[in-house]
Symmetry: C2
Subunit: 231 residues, 2 copies
């Protein structure tokens, strides 16, 4: 590193967020409608400048709170990757550090807040839509990261409320992967992974059928052995 950082090129650094949640059994992403050029009226990922005295993680958490209108957003937040093509923003050089957030079903962003222009869009629809900037590529990378991480981590619990059933967790996998899983084998697999689920001792009746046991997420972060998508 032999450079003079006071003579650096002019670059702006932003964070962009891929916020995924499950609504009605379908994967949704949080998008905002742009009110100004370029790409006025086009849908875009929420995001904004990194402030001078905050870390990248802090900037992502701040934007997430602002865009959802929630003080503390439950779920999971991790850095995805950075995008810096010189032509990705027509106005100037903008390097964007993208973050991936996974959250349980959140309320529709309330009108009258900073998040008024944000909305949940099914990923299946958003992926077929032209988004602003290179946000379609970022969204695709975020969805693929989520899909892959379900295989070998306990990340699926980030899509669930604090207490959930095995069927809830299975629904996460089925929605994110787009495949049906055998309920019986899935049940045996997740309940036999040590530290993944903590039994609350209570049950929840969901219409007809035997009531399901309620669990909380355990300490386990890695799934050993991993689930496999293709079988």
């Amino acid at each position: 590193m032999t450079y003079d950082p006071t003579a650096f090129p002019r670059v702006a650094v932003t964070v962009d967020l891929v916020v995924l949640t499950l609504r009605g059994g379908a994967l949704h992403v949080l998008l905002v409608e742009r009110g100004e050029e370029p790409f006025r009226g086009r849908l875009a990922l929420p995001g904004g400048f990194v402030r001078p005295d905050e870390t990248l993680d802090d900037a992502a958490a701040r934007e997430l709170a602002e865009e959802t209108g929630l003080r503390d957003v439950p779920g999971h937040l991790e850095q995805l990757r950075s995008y810096g093509d010189p032509a990705r923003d027509p106005r100037m050089r903008v390097v964007s550090v993208a973050y991936l957030a996974l959250a349980p079903d959140l309320p529709e962003p309330a009108a009258g807040t900073d998040a008024a222009d944000a909305r949940w869009v099914p990923v299946a629809r958003a992926s077929g839509t032209a988004l602003a900037f290179d946000h379609a590529a970022i969204l695709a990378d975020g969805v693929e990261r989520a899909r892959a991480k379900l295989e070998y981590t306990s990340l699926a619990t980030a899509f669930c409320p604090p207490e959930f059933t095995v069927a809830d967790l299975r629904g996460v996998y089925e929605a994110v992967w787009g495949t049906a899983l055998d309920p019986r084998n899935f049940h045996r697999k997740v309940t036999s992974t040590p530290g993944l689920l903590v039994d609350t001792g209570r049950t929840r009746a969901e219409g007809r059928g035997r009531p399901a046991a309620l669990y909380r997420a355990g300490d386990a972060r890695a799934l050993q052995p991993p689930f496999t998508r293709e079988a």
Copy 2:
């Protein structure tokens, strides 16, 4: 994204490289000795500014060529993650996009070139050394990424020359993971993964013992099923 990119905070964007190779059966990383403050005399990851008209990937590839002194560096190059703590560089706000490069045994960077101050350092030693900035954390993240990716991708071949034996490939795993693998089961596993290895039809005698078949890397990028580190 409701911001004015012409009123952005002053940020510099650099790329830093974690270049890993195998030398004498041990994992090595390319480090440079800093010639100026801060951290004068301290070892650091190679890196530098992203130029105004190049992509992040191009910047990483350019720095890699400059620091190794090679026109076209064989192996693999991918983005690792970005580091942007406001205090990571005492001079000003610097966001660094780190890249991970894996290469076959490269020559010692030649004196008299741009890469004259670069050298190969065993990862085991570098990890115990105080590096400049937050480079120790970046190095640890890069090594962990390499370790993890060997499990489920064909990335190990990036450490090998164009033609290599099964024992060469096994040596990569053993060096990066720090574990011994059963040569017979390893052989069966890699040769039975479709598309991973292409038999050249030739063999290579390495001292005593039966000559080993020479392979080239195939098209397969993913290992299905993956190798497992802990068993």
